[in-house]
Structures are given as structure tokens and as C-alpha cells.
């Protein structure tokens, strides 16, 4: 089912959470709403679900205007951050809940068969008789997903689905959700503040800031061409430098960075730690190593430039470098943005 948001607005008391957001999600697509807390991403998700009502604008499910359809009739599957499983029901009863309260009468046999099917889908065979308090966090989240899928929703909505789990379980569940999505092909929208999660899982990433969409595109598009300094910053570690452009070229130390299309004047230059290198000589920014942090994938150097600015850069694991060493930070890639 294709979903379309048309100029949706939401205000809480005096705080405008969502400013005229328009968004299209194609049928079968897996889309991430990514943004810092307070960016309005959860509010948008809850409006799609019908748990909040939009103050203005429209939400369409296919050709149908769903803006005023109440939650219980909207046919969405919603997975909550803290699972929201019914603690007094067994896993099987939780999954069966939607079918039992449905206006469409189903006989017990049909419900049991469907529950068994869903338990198999979420790889929890044999745990149907347990209570939510007796299973792990990752298992609870899978029960929550099975429960949401049990009502054959038109669209699946997930609110920070892996936020409360530890890193390893999180990565596994992410891959697994991707597989389930491929298998069922259900239109899915999920909210996260974790850029790694969004990039790992989604077909398309929608980045939000202060209630507005600041960029949307495939993970490749947003990673390679961040539309603004905010997106650049939000997607990963960066170093920011102020520099001046003259004749389409910015100068940073004795490095020359092409800045086509920028008028002469001040700009901000953003450099990811992996865009930088460390050498004893050459063109770049003169700096002194303050500290070296070792990580599985390589070494991160914390350096201070001659003007006292802190810079972080990643170098290969075999690089020989230690604190107090002097050298030059070389620049392989850089992004130039107008000064904010």
C-alpha cells in the first residue's frame, strides 16, 4: 500500500512538532525516518498510525484519505519501542489478540493455526505458552512484530524498534527484519535516531530536523552527498573548519580545496576522520598528535593544529604514530557548505 503525506502539520500546546511535511512511501518500500530527538519523527509515525491527529494536511493510504480514520480501523501494524506486550497474556495470546477482538469472526482453529505460523516466522516456536516477563528483550520485540503482523496490516510502523536492546542483538534483529520485509513485501516505515541502523536497514532514508525534512534519498545518496551541514554532522563524526574562498578555491593550511559555485567569502569545511591522512610531510594542516585511540578497524588520532583546533582522523592499523609527534594532516575529501 502506497502512503502519502501531504503538508502535514502537528502542534503540541505551543510547540510545533511537525512543520508541513510531505512524503511519499511507495508500496513495499522500507523507509527510515532519521533524526535527533525532538525532530518530529515519532510524531509523524504516530500520525500515520492514527495515534495522533494532524492539525492540518492529509495522509493518504493508496487513493483513500486516511486522515480522519480512527486507529482501530486504519489497519496498521505498530511496534512500540518498549514492546507494549500485554504482560498478563502468554506470547500466543498476545499474538492472537488482534484476531480475537477483530470484527471479522474467526474460529479458534484458524486463530491457532495463524499464531503457530507467526511464531515460526519470528523464530519463536515452542515459546507460545511463556509470558512476556519470561523471555528476553530481543524475543519480546519479535513477539511484538508477530502481534502487529497478525492483523494483516496495510503498513507496518516501527518506533525505535531496537532502541532498548544491546548492540549485538540489535544487529541480528536488524538483518532479520530486513529478511522478513523481503519475504512479506509489506510497506514499512520505521523511526530511529541511530544513523547506522537507518543506513543498514532502509531502502530510503528521510532525515528530519526540527519538524522538517532536510534530505531524503537512498543511503548512498545521503552518505555521499549530504544536503547540508546538519546532515553531514548527523550522519557521522566530522571536523569543522572555517575557511575563506577566493576564486572557487578554499585554503586550509597549505591545502587547496575546490569549492566550485561558492562566491568569495567565508565557508565551513567539513572533513570526516576517514577523509584525512597523516604524513610527515606534504600539503595539509600542520598538527601535533595529542592522543591515539586504538580500535579494531584502525587507529584514531586526536591532533591539535597550530591554531589550537582539535581534529580527529582515522588511519590504518599499522600506522606508526604516538603522542607529541608532529606532522601534517592530509586531506583526501572535503565537503564545503556556506557558513551557517
Amino acid at each position: 500500500m502506497k502512503i502519502r503525506l501531504d503538508n502535514v502539520v502537528k502542534t503540541f500546546e505551543t510547540f510545533r512538532a511537525v512543520h508541513g511535511v510531505s512524503l511519499e512511501i511507495e508500496s513495499g518500500e522500507l523507509v527510515a525516518l532519521l533524526g535527533p530527538s525532538g525532530s518530529g519523527k515519532t510524531t509523524i509515525l504516530r500520525m500515520v498510525a492514527g495515534l495522533e491527529y494532524a492539525d492540518a494536511g492529509h495522509i493518504y493510504f493508496g487513493a483513500e484519505d486516511a486522515t480522519d480514520i480512527p486507529v482501530r480501523d486504519r489497519g496498521v501494524g505498530f511496534v512500540f519501542q518498549h514492546y507494549a506486550l500485554f504482560p498478563h497474556m502468554t506470547v500466543a495470546e498476545n499474538i492472537a489478540f488482534g484476531m480475537k477482538v477483530s470484527k471479522v469472526r474467526r474460529d479458534k482453529g484458524a486463530i491457532d493455526t495463524r499464531v503457530a505460523e507467526l511464531l515460526r516466522l519470528v523464530q519463536l516456536d515452542g515459546l507460545g505458552e511463556r509470558f512476556p516477563g519470561q523471555i528476553s528483550g530481543g524475543q519480546r520485540q519479535r513477539v511484538a512484530l508477530a502481534r502487529a503482523l497478525a492483523v494483516d496490516p496495510k503498513v507496518l510502523l516501527l518506533d525505535e524498534p531496537f532502541g532498548a536492546l544491546d548492540a549485538n542483538v540489535r544487529r541480528d534483529l536488524r538483518r532479520w527484519l530486513r529478511e522478513i520485509h523481503q519475504e512479506l513485501g509489506i510497506t514499512t516505515l520505521f523511526v530511529t535516531h541511530d544513523q547506522e541502523e537507518a543506513l543498514d536497514l532502509a531502502d530510503r532514508v528521510v532525515i528530519l530536523d526540527k519538524g522538517r525534512i532536510v534530505q531524503q534519498g537512498t543511503p548512498e545518496e545521503v552518505c555521499r552527498n549530504p544536503a547540508s551541514a546538519f546532515v553531514m554532522n548527523f550522519l557521522g563524526d566530522t571536523n569543522r573548519f572555517s575557511a575563506a574562498v577566493s576564486g572557487g578555491v578554499a585554503r586550509l593550511g597549505d591545502a587547496r580545496i575546490p569549492a566550485p559555485g561558492f562566491a568569495d567569502g567565508p565557508v565551513d569545511i567539513f572533513l570526516r576522520p576517514s577523509d584525512l591522512g597523516w604524513s610527515q610531510s606534504g600539503e595539509g594542516i600542520a598538527a601535533t598528535v595529542a592522543r591515539v585511540i586504538d580500535r579494531p578497524a584502525g587507529r584514531r588520532i586526536l591532533a591539535l593544529t597550530a591554531t589550537g583546533e582539535a581534529v580527529e582522523l582515522d588511519v590504518a592499523p599499522e600506522t606508526v604514530v604516538s603522542a607529541q609527534q608532529k606532522g601534517v594532516i592530509t586531506i583526501e575529501r572535503a565537503k564545503v557548505y556556506a557558513t551557517a
Binding site: F97, V101, R147, A150
Partner: protein, 273 residues
């Protein structure tokens, strides 16, 4: 024994056990001992006398009715206090504890004044042909008044802790308000309701001060068991008083046992497996 992190266990245990023995167990023991000093036949004659049986009936039925009334009204009150914000909410919240704070005799006199045939409520009810003061209905009113806080105060914290996401989840799954209340909210409130219910019922069984003013105290009709025990005491018939009191004691014990079993069943899901 494993080493404990917090010190003072033997001392704390000793003090509490001595305290419980002196304050609770000793008087109850004396009561049982006094009742037991009667032979079984005398005991049975006293506790099964028509006047005593009539007093059990009126006490138990009134207590049941008062508890049922409080169950509905107390839950509604707790619901409103937790779920809605309105001017005067804190005031109403404080008012709930008033029946605890008020001397029960004062409550009894106030209720009698209101419900007497020339009182504010009584005169209106008399026109509708309903008599409250000096009838079992009056006993019920007094019991409901003094035991109201139990249900409200046991349900309130549970309702406050109820995750709103549970109701939202039930809504997204297509549940109507009716089915969400019956299948999600009520089962989660059940343990608290049972606890409140048993406290409210036990208090109603034992209530004395508030009732004797409004009940009229007609033997066989509006005489409660606690009053009958008191009358026997005044007649210096301590053994009979103890025998009648022991019936209340046994009833209270049985009821606490039943509610504990029911509560354990309702809380089955919290057991770790």
C-alpha cells in the same frame, strides 16, 4: 547462611516478631482461649442462636453490598483521579482519605443526621419511599463510607503505572474501547482490586462506630455482629462475647485466604520461568 549486605537482620527480626506477638497475636490468642474455654456445645449454642445468626446475615450482606458499591464507585473515582486533569483534582484526591481521618462515630452521627427522615437526603428519599436510617440500607451506607478509600488507594497507583502504550497497542490491533477495558485494563487491575476488595470487606465486617448510630440496632433486623459481641461484654458474659467475636475472626481469616489465592492466580504471569 550467605553474608548479608545490610546489617541488623537479627535485631530487626527480633523487634518485629516481639511487636507482632504483643500487638496482634496476644489479643487474638486470648480471644481464642476465652472462646475455647466454653465447651463445644455451649459454643455452638451461642454462635448459632437465632439472634447471632441474624446478626451475621445483616453484617455480611451489608458488607457485601457496600463492597460491591465501592468496587464500582471506587474504581471510577481512581480512574478519574488518574486519567483526567481538572480544577480541584488535588482537593478531591485529599477528600478520599477523609473517611480514614474522621472518627467513625462522627461519621456515623453525620450520616444519621443526613439520612434521618427530616435530614437533607432522608427527606428527599422519604418522598420516593426509601428509608435509609435505622434500616440495613443505613448499615450499608455507613460501611461504604468508611471503607471507600481502600479500593481507591489500592487501584490508583496501579492505574498510574499502567503503560499508555498498552492501550495504544490494543487500539492499533483493532480493539474497541469495551474490549480493551475488559481484556487489557481490567485483568491488570485485578490483583489491586482484589486487595482493595478484601480490605474493604474486612473493614466493613468489623466496623462499629459509624454503624451503631445509623443502624437503629433492632435485634434480628439491624443489629450487627460487632454490636452483639459488645452487648455480651456489657453483660459481663465474656465467654459469649469471645465466641461471637471468634466467628468474625474466622470469617476475616477465610476471606483473606480466599483473596490471597485469587490474587496469586491473577498474578501468575509475573512468575519467572
Amino acid at each position: 547462611m550467605a553474608r548479608r549486605i545490610l546489617p541488623g537482620f537479627p535485631l530487626a527480626l527480633g523487634i518485629t516478631l516481639v511487636y507482632v506477638s504483643i500487638i496482634v497475636a496476644l489479643p487474638l490468642g486470648a480471644l481464642v482461649f476465652k472462646a475455647a474455654s466454653l465447651g463445644f456445645e455451649d459454643y455452638w449454642r451461642i454462635v448459632s442462636s437465632p439472634r447471632a445468626v441474624a446478626s451475621y446475615r445483616v453484617t455480611a450482606l451489608s458488607a457485601l453490598a457496600a463492597t460491591a458499591f465501592n468496587l464500582v464507585f471506587g474504581m471510577a473515582l481512581a480512574w478519574v483521579l488518574v486519567r483526567y486533569r481538572f480544577p480541584g483534582r488535588r482537593f478531591v484526591d485529599a477528600l478520599v482519605d477523609l473517611p480514614f481521618a474522621l472518627p467513625t462515630a462522627v461519621a456515623g452521627i453525620a450520616l444519621t443526621t443526613l439520612f434521618a427522615e427530616n435530614g437533607w437526603f432522608g427527606s428527599v428519599l422519604a418522598q420516593a419511599g426509601i428509608k435509609v436510617a435505622y434500616t440495613p440500607l443505613g448499615i450499608m451506607v455507613a460501611m461504604a463510607f468508611t471503607s471507600l478509600p481502600f479500593i481507591v488507594r489500592t487501584v490508583q497507583p496501579v492505574l498510574e503505572d499502567l503503560d499508555p502504550a498498552l492501550e495504544e497497542a490494543a487500539q492499533t490491533l483493532g480493539g474497541s474501547d469495551h474490549s480493551i477495558f475488559l481484556r487489557v485494563i481490567l485483568p491488570l487491575l485485578t490483583p489491586a482490586l482484589l486487595a482493595g476488595l478484601s480490605l474493604s470487606f474486612a473493614r466493613s465486617l468489623g466496623e462499629f462506630g459509624a454503624i451503631i448510630f445509623i443502624a437503629g440496632n433492632q435485634p434480628m433486623e439491624t443489629e450487627i455482629t460487632a454490636l452483639l459481641a459488645f452487648i455480651r461484654l456489657e453483660e459481663y458474659d465474656y465467654q459469649a462475647a469471645a465466641a461471637i467475636a471468634s466467628v468474625l475472626l474466622i470469617a476475616a481469616f477465610l476471606m483473606l485466604a480466599v483473596t490471597n489465592i485469587l490474587q496469586a492466580r491473577a498474578l501468575r504471569y509475573t512468575a519467572r520461568g
